[in-house]
Amino acid sequence: MLTAVLGLGQIGLVAAIALGWASKKFAVDVDARELAVNEVLPGVNCGACGYPGCSGYAGAVVKEAAPINLCPPGGSEVITAIARIMGLEDDVTEPQVAVVLCQGDNRKTTQKYIYTGMHDCNAANNIADGPKQCPNGCLGLGSCVTACPFDAIEITADDLAVISRERCTGCGLCVTACPRQLIRMTPATATVHVLCNSHDKGGVVRKYCEIGCIGCNICKKTAPEAFKIDQFLAQVDYAHDDDAAMAIDKCPKNCIVDFNSTYPDGSKFKPASIQPPTPACAGKDLP
């Protein structure tokens, strides 16, 4: 009995001394700031910053002096927090949200052919430039939905992608996933948008879409500051968009939408308030 106790005790003692020595000898220096930055990041590992996950970005901020405003899901609160940890000035960027610039679902647009292939916009767009007659409209097969880590995009029953302004964190992953470049990052404060992406002439657009911009210039006449027309397509000038809402009722094709009052047809999302979206890090203790 005694031999066993002493034997095990000795082994324990030797092991303890060895471990203690090894922990000093092979200690890895971790910058306390890196741990702190990692702590304030949202922890969703979306990759919008361009680094592998949140800890990768934390490391880059501390070791490589990466810009501190690369985390769109975190928003201004995270930027302020990182700035405090790193002793930098907080360079707060305006929060942004993604908008799908299309309202042409299957009931409002015509198709070139019946697509029966893979359920993916990129695959469909490779075949004769996509099944939709409109060369720039939403294909509604949900590549953006797959890309979104925040569950902020839905596809309506008539195959149109709609982005929730409440859930969108502005990470921009859907922008790169869309083969037709019709998702744009816009300032979260701007709620009025021209939801069309077709640069075709009015007569051509009328043939394939009920709700596409025909470049008629009425919005620009109503609110000259707020709109610009680029190749038969009206666009909101987000720098001077105060009067943009005035043109909503004037638009003959109903392609100008204020997200404060409504979402595109068929969407289950509720109209958003003008408040910027809640950052994904909300609820965490910030140092």
Partner: protein, 438 residues
């Protein structure tokens, strides 16, 4: 004669009986020709005529813009009506030169044939490029590029592709029967350009008349005719080399890496026309076939003739069309409408009604491995397809998805009807997009 072949491949029903016995007929001129600027692999040509210009048959109307590019010629005389985006066989709207046909069909008087003996191979190569000759089996790769191997890659064998392994198509078959002398002459010119002695014509044994005809014509010229087992895709360049010479083209490589150049029989005939007569590539033989067409035909068609017009020459259709394919049924392109024109790579126009098409229900993969046995490039189609569905293009690339030539054997063979080749194509597009980003 023993029959050679390659490893892998499938045996689709050949369906060549519709048009195999029909001699080549000359298709009349339509009212207008739509000549796309992009009819070949490589950079699209740049137009050098303006709207309203009068053009002769064979006149250059668009110039090559790069080494891998060829000029485009007017296929008949007439007036340039428009230069604008028009339907293209690829399904896209691409810029095309529209010519209003004057019906006189006058050749450009400056085009003259020359005696081959006085020309060196560089001049011949220039002439072949100027004539706009591309691979006429369907891939439309510019012929002069294939004929310009770098000095460190000596060529020892010229293989002439008379396989025509796609079902329904009989255009090359008829060419071999009716223009064997012209093909042999083209082969002699190609041998001269490349400086090679050995030339082998590969023909599948389901065309015994063509084998007999070509053997007779080739006898006096030291050209070998090789009968091949009937199997798809034997007409693919790499598989033909494997079948004839038992040499394998390395992954990502070209036939010239192993000392071989492959040309189609129709290309050889076009080379002969370009050198002897000075005529550029303005017409080709197209098989119009399929169960839905009233009379299947092999037509000699001007480049740019709308498909609708071709169909009228075959007395129209028996019933409503459900699928139109340009090219062969395995690798051809499904068409949106009959508005697109026939281009240099169009080997066939196939028409099917609803009742002719299989009704496919996609099942789950049972891991039987038939796609692996069928794949002529020895890939693992089911594995790559599942990576493609998940969007994991790095892994797909590790499994050499980029080597796939989209022959469709895997999909044809799959007992669960899985769209394997479609997924592989998606993987290839994804890999390309990834490479462009980095």
């Amino acid at each position: 004669m023993d029959k050679k072949t390659f490893v892998g491949g499938v045996h689709p029903p050949d369906c060549k009986h519709y048009s195999a016995a029909k001699p080549i007929e000359v298709c009349p001129l339509p009212e207008q020709l739509i000549i796309p600027l992009s009819q070949h692999i490589g950079a699209p040509a740049k137009e050098i005529v303006t709207v309203g210009d009068q053009v002769f048959k064979g006149q250059t109307i668009a110039n090559a813009t790069a080494f891998v590019s060829v000029p485009i010629h007017a296929a008949t005389s007439g007036r340039v009506m428009a230069i604008e985006p028009r339907p293209h066989p690829s399904g896209k709207l691409l810029p095309a030169i529209v010519i209003e046909v004057d019906g006189e069909d006058r050749w450009d008087p400056s085009l003259k044939g020359l005696d081959v003996a006085h020309w060196n191979s560089d001049e011949l190569r220039q002439r072949i490029k100027a004539a706009g000759i591309v691979g006429m089996g369907g891939a439309t790769f510019p012929t002069h590029v294939k004929l310009s191997p770098p000095d460190d890659k000596p060529i020892d064998t010229l293989i002439i592709n008379g396989v025509e392994c796609e079902s329904y198509l009989t255009a090359d078959h008829r060419m071999m029967l009716e223009h064997s002398e012209k093909i042999i002459d083209g082969i002699n010119i190609l041998r001269r350009v490349l400086g090679v002695k050995q030339a082998i014509i590969g023909i599948e044994s389901n065309k015994p008349d063509a084998i007999a005809c070509m053997t007779k014509a080739a006898a006096a010229h030291d050209i070998e005719v090789q009968a091949l087992e009937v199997k798809y895709p034997q007409g693919a360049e790499k598989q033909l080399i494997d079948a004839v010479l038992k040499r394998e083209v390395p992954s990502g490589g070209l036939p010239m890496d192993i000392g071989v150049v492959v040309q189609n029989v129709s290309t050889a005939a076009a080379v002969s026309d370009a050198i002897r007569l000075g005529h550029p590539l303005v017409e080709r033989v197209i098989t119009i076939s399929g169960p839905a067409v009233v009379e299947a035909k092999n037509l000699l068609v001007r480049i740019g003739t709308p498909m609708e017009f071709l169909l009228q020459q075959c007395d129209g259709i028996k019933y409503e069309l459900d699928k139109i394919i340009m090219g062969g049924p395995m690798m051809g392109q499904s068409q949106l409408s009959l508005a697109a024109p026939a281009i240099r790579g169009t080997s066939g126009l196939l028409l099917f009604g609803h009742q002719d098409l299989p009704h496919i229900e996609v099942g789950t993969c049972i891991r039987c491995g038939r796609c692996v046995t069928a794949c002529p490039l020895h890939l693992l189609p089911a594995t790559i397809a599942s990576y493609a569905i998940l969007g994991r293009f790095d892994e797909a690339e590790d499994y050499c998805a980029h080597d796939c030539m989209e022959c469709g054997c895997c999909t044809f063979q799959c007992p669960a009807n899985r769209p394997l080749v479609q997924n592989l194509r998606y993987a290839k597009a994804g890999i390309l997009a990834k490479q462009r980003r980095t």
